[in-house]
Structure formats: C-alpha cells, structure tokens
C-alpha cells in the first residue's frame, strides 16, 4: 500500500468575519455551522484514505491560537464509553473532539468592543512546529535503534482556511513562516472563503508550491476541498490542481506596516520602507543625504522631470533570505528596490 501523509489544518475562526460570511445578503452565504460540518467531512475523508494518515487541526481565534485536534494525542477519557456502532471510531473521536474544543473556545470569547487581531500567524507557526516535532521524533527514535533510515514525516502539508483580511502587521512573521516551511519542505495550501484576496497567503502558497483558491461558491466548500486539497503531492502530479494565474507579490513596509507598491530597501539588511528614511530602523545604518534627496525626487507620487525611467515596483522578495535580520555591513546606503541592487547604492555619509 502507499505512503501515509500528514495534513495540518489552520482554521480561521474570527467571529466577526464568520458573522459577515454567514449573512444572507451574500450571494452564497456559508454559516459557521455548515462550514464546520463540511470541514469535518473533509477531515474524515483524509483519515479514510489511509489508516496511517495523520492530522492536526489548529484554530486561529482573536488574539490567540489553539490546538483543536491532533491524531498523535491519546483518546481522551470521555470517549472510553460505548461506541456508536454506526460510525467508524476514529471519525467519531475526531468529530467530537473538534466540536467540543471549538464550542469551549467560542463560549469563552469575551464580548469586546474591538476584536483583537486574529491569531493566524500563531496557528501557522504552531503547525510548523508540530510538523517539525513529528519529523524529528521519528528520526531520533531511529538513532536509538529504529528500523529505517532517516524517517521524515511523509508529504507534510498545511491547509489554511481563511476568512479574515490580511493583517499587515503580521507580514514579517508570515514571511518567516514561509521560509521555514520551504526549509521543512512543507506545502502550504490556502483556501480563501470570504473577504478580500490575501496578498500574504497568496505568496505563501506560491513560494511553497501549494495552491491558493478563492472560492467563488463558498457553499460548495466540500467539493473544492476534496478536489483541490485532498490529494497528496504524489497524486497531484497525475491529477492537476488549480494554481494561481497571477500572484500579488507586494510587500508590507516595516515602518507603517502598509502594503506598498513601491518600497525602499535598506541595502544592508533588506528592510523595506514606504518612504526614504535617513536611518534604517532595523540595522541603524545611516544613509547619505544626497541619496535621500535623489530618491525623494524619484518617488512616483511626485515624478521628477529628470528621472530617466521609473523604478520598477517591488515585485519579489529575496527568497532565500529572511527578512529583518541585519547582515554584516559590507556597504551601505539606501537603494530603490530593483531586481539588481547594483549601481544605486552610495557610500555612507
């Protein structure tokens, strides 16, 4: 038989967004309860595919993230009673654990005036940690006399089900998660149910080889999930899975957390700013005043007559480098972002 695969699901449980999503004024409303029953059917289908398939589900709640279900933890005490003869046991345990933990958390939510930002990054990071722990656990047991060579958790995947708009303050942590996922060879799939297109999650799916799907018909969620997100990577080579035609590669600036079309990148640490700054806030590099003047003059908002060609927009981030870590100072100066960073950097003041 074939190899088992691991799936981590990150569920966005923002109360306000789900309220909006379920409103009947939408063309295809999807209330939370209908969403959960379709999601559970999908999770059951994943377990049904192979007895050794593993699963973990993280919930992103306002201001926090929690583990809703993990197939690695032991069956809790309350399920040792008589089982339902009409339901496959693992499904029963999965469904009731999920529903119990969700209802516990939703009841515990306080009625605040303003909802704290959704804990999507926390949930994403936790599922990456989970995958890392599972892969490492199996390889350490090998070192202690196991059977096979280095056992890596086969085909780990993360599926993000999102309804909230992008939180621009979470740009840096999301990018860092993407880089860790690349390193762990984890595929991130994104299913966007409601709200505006998510720039960051589009990039996450694109950079890890996953697929990003914005549901036009959220009420047909289960069919989307089954066809696009159920097949493990090996099957996806045979049955194609929709991918994005165009990816929004815009980045968020470090100073105001705005998503920018054109940014200014520190030539030392690659921090991104929405306007030229005299001192880099990350690595404290000072930039020459002349460069600042020149860059200010070339800003697209006020096009200077002498600029020969507008600078190309910040299209992509360097993929192999993490953002926000200062590198050793080899040369400094503030440069306008362009595919090649040569020529525009100037000596420091």
């Amino acid at each position: 038989m074939d190899k088992p695969s691991h799936l981590s699901v990150v569920v966005d449980l923002s109360p306000s967004q789900w309220h909006l999503c379920g409103q009947s004024s939408n063309s295809h409303p999807l209330p939370l309860s209908a969403f959960l029953s379709q999601l559970l059917a999908f999770l059951n289908a994943h377990i049904a595919c192979n007895d050794e398939n593993t699963l973990s589900v993280y919930g992103a709640l306002p201001g926090k993230s929690i583990l809703l279900y993990s197939s690695a933890t032991a069956v809790p005490e309350e399920f040792t009673g008589p089982a339902d003869p009409n339901t496959y046991r693992p499904f029963e345990v999965l469904d009731s654990t999920m529903m119990n933990s969700i209802s516990d958390r939703v009841e515990a939510l306080t009625d605040l005036e303003q909802e704290p930002p959704i804990g999507l990054v926390g949930a994403l990071t936790k599922s990456l940690c989970y995958i890392n722990r599972m892969s490492n656990a199996s390889s350490t047991s090998t070192a202690a006399g196991g059977v096979q060579g280095p056992v890596v958790l086969p085909d780990p995947r993360i599926l993000v089900v999102s309804v909230s708009p992008d939180e621009s303050s979470s740009y840096i942590p999301i990018m860092n998660s993407i880089f860790s996922a690349q390193k762990l060879k984890v595929t991130i799939d994104v299913c966007k149910l409601y709200g505006p297109e998510s720039v960051f999650l589009q990039q996450a799916a694109h950079l890890t080889g996953g697929s990003y799907i914005y549901l036009e018909r959220p009420d047909a969620l289960l069919q989307y999930l089954t066809m696009a997100f159920l097949p493990p990577p090996a099957v996806r080579q045979l049955l194609s899975v929709p991918t994005q035609d165009k990816v929004d590669f815009r980045a968020a600036c470090f100073c105001h957390k705005n998503i920018v079309d054109i940014g200014f990148v520190c030539s030392v640490c690659l921090s991104i700013f929405c306007q030229p700054v005299p001192v880099c806030s990350t690595c404290r590099t000072k930039f020459p005043i002349k460069t600042l003047q020149r860059l200010n003059a070339s800003k697209p908002a006020a096009p200077a007559p002498r600029t020969p060609a507008p600078t190309p927009p910040a299209t992509s981030l360097p993929r192999s480098q993490s953002i926000g870590t200062p590198r050793s100072s080899m040369g400094n100066g503030l440069v306008a972002p362009s595919p090649s960073r040569n020529g525009t950097s100037l000596p420091p003041r």
Partner: protein, 470 residues
C-alpha cells in the same frame, strides 16, 4: 499468489499491482458486489485497499449528485497521469464502483450512499460493530494480551508448516486450519500420510505477515463458497473487523448465522479473541484491525528476548556468515530453510549461506529473490547503515546458484532425419530456418531438430516436395 514484495511501498507512478483482495472482488458478480456495498464499513475498507489515484477519483465523485461528463474529469488529468488514470478507471469499473459508461462518470449509487454514510457517520446499519456493554465479572483483556494471543496463534500455524518436513511436530493447529492449509496448496498429504509442506508453502513462509494473512483469508473466501456460506456475509464480517478498535469488546448478538460460525475459524487464526467458545462477546486482535492498513499486523515477536526482534535481527557478512540475534524457534526454523546452522547460543544463532543450503532451498521451490528479500526485510539495524544493505557478493552468488539450477532447458519438438541426399537436407533446412524453428542441426549426420510449432509447416513442405518429385 499475491504480489511477491508487498513491503515495497509503491510509488504512485509505478504500476503497483492491486491488492490481492481486489482481484478476487473483480471476479465476483455485480449482484454480490452490490449487496456488499450496502454496508458502510465494507465500502470504507474497500476504499482503503484501492490505489491512491483510484481513491482520489472516488472522492472527487463522492459528493456530486449527478453524473459529470467524462471529458470534465479528463481535463484534470496531466499528461503523465493519462495512463494511470485509464488504469484506475478500469479497476473501478471492474469493481462496479464506476458503472462503465464512456460518456458520463458517476459512482454506483449504493456505493456512494454507503461511503457517504461511512464518512459522515449516522444511519442504523451498525456495520462498524456493536460494542458489548460493561462486563462486571471479567475485565477487558489488555492490548498486550491480545497481541500475545494473536502472535501465538499465528506462529503456531507457521511453525507447524516449517517443521512438517523435519519430522518434528510441535503444537498442532486446529483441524480447520489444517484443512485450509491443505486446500490452499501450501501443504499436501501424499497418499494420506502426514501433511507435508509444498514449494508454495515454503514461499509463503518468506512473505510479510500482511500478505500471509490475506492469502489465507482469500483461500478461506474460496472455501466459503464451497461450504455454502454466504460470501457477502463473510466479506462484510472481515471488513467490519478491520474497522473495529483494538482493545474493545464487541457483542456477537447482532451477527448473522454465517458470521457466528466464522467466529470459530477466526479464533483459530488469531484474528479474534474470545474468553471461551460460547462467550457472547469477542475482541478483534491487531491482525484484524490492520487488515486494511499498512501497519505491521504483529507488533513484537514472542520469546524472552523481546522487543527488538521484529525490527530485524540478521547480520550478513561478505564471507557468507549469518548472525541472527533471535531465540524464536519459528525464525530459526525459517532461517534453517536456506542457511547451514553452525552454532547456537541463548540469543544468537550463527550459520552460513552455502551452496548446499541454497540448493536445498531452491529445490524446495524458494527463489533467490525471495531469500534476498527476506534477508533485506529482517536485516539488523546495524546493517541498515550499509549501502547496499546486503553484501553484493552474497546477493550475486545466491542468484548465480539459482542460475546453475537452470542450466538444462527442455523444449518439445521433432527430429528430422534420414534425408535422401545432402541437397534434400539443405533444402528443407533452409525452409525451416526461414520459419525460425530450427533448434539444433548437424550437417554431418544430415539431421536437425525443429520446434513443435514448426512441425506442421515442415511436414507439409516435405510432403509437397515428395509429391512434386513423383
């Protein structure tokens, strides 16, 4: 015979042979299968036995209410996926999961309803086993106890098989098991004498437990038809067992007559455990619950040595010596099939692969590949660091010894001799050579040997020629 090497996890792209049971199911009538598909647990188990692509196709169609045009599904298939996709459609239609229609794709309605019910839960079928209520008198047996029971039963069967040739008879399995072994051709009793292991029996010993189990169960299914048992009842009970939970007690009250009769057989194979034959509750063992998964059905091997043996215990050196860290009589007996044992210690057996020992194994019908795959599967963790795992010299030598056996090849045919003249001989030989049927020729003796297929033509040719001369 089942696939020889089920331990090798097939890549999706490779044409992995389908599970042995699927082949059996494909030979069943549509009526039988439709009745089988009424149980959600059966559908779930069959679904799990399918290949990865087959499963995805079933899932894609599962939640659709109406049939979709085949061209729509075709559009999803990549260029590399074309061939596996066609193969999957073939398997699914032979199982009657996908009624064969070239234009529209839709699941068999019975199968669809049952699989949906399996995944969403609910219904009143009770097909996942009715758990027994709490028993105040006895405590539920622990998982360890069930494992030990399953292992003991299973090893009794294998040990009986392996030692039948040697004249020593250890604990005898029950009459039902013996009949099954005999009917499956794994053992035979020449002239009514005691049972002797056959060459397919020797091959059987080297399979993985999962394959061994399914092979016996398949034979059981074949016998069930002869014993006037309802095949659907037998199959759904096996599938029900495979979806049960290890360490839980189930009640026999809701079983049909056929299924109650099966309890005794399954108890003998170690698939279920019962306190006593008349008990109204039973526990599935790990052999049962892993029927449709790739997890090892036997967790640890018995013997005082304990836990590491299931992970591999054989060290093979380039000088053909074998060190087997085991005290399990079954494993020693199986090794004894193809190595010469030199010395034995409390937890270690030392032997060597020799020409004689391998020849003996080959004479028993074991192939060189089976010996090599057995050694690979049971190699000691220390051996895993070697690349390749087994010394190449030893592997090659075992294969060469096998080739030695096949030095003489026999072929049926006719000898043409007593030609009147050299010209005649050459004329006929020329004709036979054109047909490519000459196996041997000798111009000095004016004779040649042609294969069986060519005889009619050559004969006709000679007759025509003789008639023409006259």
């Amino acid at each position: 015979m089942a696939a020889a090497n089920p331990d090798e996890h097939g890549d999706v792209n490779s044409e992995a042979s389908p599970h042995a049971l699927l082949t059996f199911l494909q030979s069943q009538s549509q009526n039988t299968l439709s009745r089988l598909y009424q149980k959600p647990s059966s559908c779930l188990s069959i679904f799990r036995l399918l290949g990865p692509l087959d499963r995805q196709l079933v899932m894609n169609l599962l939640w659709l209410d109406s049939a979709i045009p085949a061209s729509t599904m075709n559009a999803w298939v990549t260029r590399e996926g074309r061939k596996p996709y066609e193969a999957s459609l073939g398997i699914l239609s032979r199982l009657h999961i996908l009624p064969s229609s070239p234009v529209k794709l839709a699941l068999n309605p019975t199968f669809k309803t049952s699989l949906r019910q399996a995944i969403t839960g609910g219904g009143t079928s009770g097909s996942f086993g009715v758990p027994a209520g709490n028993d105040d008198k006895h405590t539920t047996p622990s998982v360890e106890k069930l494992d030990a029971y399953a292992l003991e039963r299973w090893e009794t069967i294998l040990h009986y098989m392996v030692s039948s040739g040697s004249g020593r008879y250890p604990a005898k399995p029950s009459q039902g098991v013996l009949l099954l072994l005999q009917r499956s051709g794994l053992m035979t009793s020449p002239h009514g004498a005691a049972l002797q292991i056959t060459s397919s029996g020797f091959q059987f010993l080297l399979y993985s437990p999962h394959t061994q189990l399914w092979e016996l169960l398949l034979q059981y299914l074949h016998m069930a038809e002869e014993r006037q048992m309802d095949l659907v009842e037998v199959l759904s009970f096996l599938f029900m067992l495979s979806t049960m939970e290890l360490g839980r007690e189930y009640s026999t009250e809701h079983l049909s007559g056929t299924q109650t009769a099966m309890l005794e057989d399954l108890r003998d194979y170690g698939i279920i455990w019962q306190r006593k034959a008349s008990s109204r509750r039973f526990n599935p063992t790990r052999l049962a619950t892993t029927l449709t998964s790739s997890a090892p059905p036997l967790p640890t091997t018995s013997g005082s040595g304990g836990t590491t043996q299931s992970q591999g215990f054989i060290v093979l050196e380039t000088n053909y010596r074998i060190y087997a860290y085991t005290d399990n009589p079954l494993q020693i007996a199986i090794l004894n099939l193809f190595i010469t044992l030199k010395s034995r210690f409390p937890n270690l057996v030392v032997g060597a692969i020799t020409r004689e020992s391998v020849k003996k194994a080959l004479a028993n019908g074991i192939t060189a590949d089976q010996i090599i795959s057995y050694l690979t599967t049971h190699a000691h963790p220390q051996m895993r660091r070697n690349k390749p795992l087994l010394p190449v010299t030893v592997q090659d030598q075992i294969r060469l010894w096998e080739l030695e056996k096949n030095r003489v090849k026999s072929q049926e045919g006719y000898l043409y001799t007593a030609f009147a003249s050299q010209a005649d001989y050459e004329y006929v030989l020329d004709y036979a050579k054109k047909l490519d049927v000459v196996l041997w020729e000798s111009a000095a003796r004016r004779c040649f040997f042609g294969s069986l297929e060519g005889h009619a033509n050559i004969r006709g040719f000679i007759e025509r020629r003789t008639a023409g001369n006259v």
